[in-house]
Amino acid sequence: MEFVSPWIHTTEKCNLRCHYCYVRGNAVMQPIIYHKLREMLLKLPTTKIHLRFAGGEPLLVFDIWQRFATSMLKYDSAKVEVLTNLVDVPRNFWAFAGLENVNISVSVDNGDKIKVLDKSISKKLKRLRNPWIMTTITEENIENLDILAAFIGLNNYGWCLTTDYFEKSVPKWEILANRLLEVLEILKQFNYDFTKISFNNASVKAGFSGCKIGNEMFAVAPDGNIYKCQTLIGSKNIIGNVFTGYKISNVCERKSCEDCSAYGLCKGWCPLHYKTPNPICNVIKLFLNKVAKEVQNAK
């Protein structure tokens, strides 16, 4: 085990409730679960701990997990990632966000109604050190991606683009490919660092792990149960809990991908919900081909 990276489902509560989101309910993780999680993590055969605080909206319960996160940062190789919509920010969060080894990823879709890029979000992003933007591409925001690309390009933010896990609202692959390649053209105009962009976990960045669910990556539910993936929380697929640990299972190996020309650069997107080959693989190939060229040209 090279590292461990739990997805900590701090709460099911959210202040947005986007149409493509799989999270339902109002559960909140309590301090005892964080305490037991800490004990479990420190027993694992790795010292490289990467905590992902997510939800729901984790900043709604920042007061509950802040102490745990800060205590874990005392370990040299521990890192904290917060995945937030940055809509309601507690005042004491800004100091926490500025700590070394704390990184913030912010959901911005620039949809007509969902996760809109506005003055408020733009201002808050400027207060963060190297934030990454997370965008879920759906039919609702695909037309607005050009403006978002200009914003990302101007600020040279890292950008993680994904289709939604369950492909409920994924535009046709040709439409998606066209738009994505346009987005890359826009970024090029801003001398963007193309090692900072990914699409469905495909990236040319060295060390980009891809999904490692059930192994290094797993999800901890508010009640302490452990699942391979956050999208399985609430299902019967429990692989352990914070009190007794979890059973490792390799689900990310994809034999069907081994002959693909993008194998090695593409990390196979979502091993649970995305079956290969898939029309979206065409988009990934077009994306990687363009990004690899831009990275090579920049050298």
């Binding site: 090279e2 590292f3 990276s5 490289k48 990467h50 190789s77 890192k79 990632e81 995945l83 990184n103 913030i104 990823s105 890029l117 506005d118 003055k119 733009s122 190297n130 934030p131 990454w132 997370m134 050009d146 403006i147 690309a149 200009a150 914003f151 101007l154 890292g158 993680c160 994904t162 040709e174 490919a177 066209n178 390649l181 346009e182 053209e185 826009i186 090029k188 105009q189 801003f190 900072k196 990914s198 976990n201 960045k205 060295a206 060390g207 980009f208 792990s209 891809g210 999904c211 669910i213 990556m217 020309s261 993008a262 090695g264 650069l265 190939k285 077009l286 990687l288 081909n289 690899a292």
Partner: protein, 72 residues
């Protein structure tokens, strides 16, 4: 060091950088990807047409962005 997103980690301090491909292998691999992408474009006329037409009006984009961010 910028961070990562959702289902992947990009922290090179955590995932040790592994050289998976040497230069020769990488070049070969990228050429194969390029060939495949070209045939994909050839097979899909709409895609090809749209891609060759794509132009970027940077000034307009920046001004649209500014207008959007200036809204209350």
């Amino acid at each position: 060091m910028p961070s990562d997103c959702q289902c992947s980690t990009a922290c090179t301090q955590i995932v040790e950088k592994k050289v998976v491909l040497n230069n020769k292998e990488a070049t070969k691999k990228l050429r194969r990807l390029e060939d495949e992408v070209e045939s994909l474009k050839r097979e899909n006329a709409t895609l090809k047409r749209k891609l060759t037409r794509a132009t970027v009006n940077k000034k307009k984009l920046v001004s649209d962005l500014k207008r959007q961010l200036d809204k209350a």
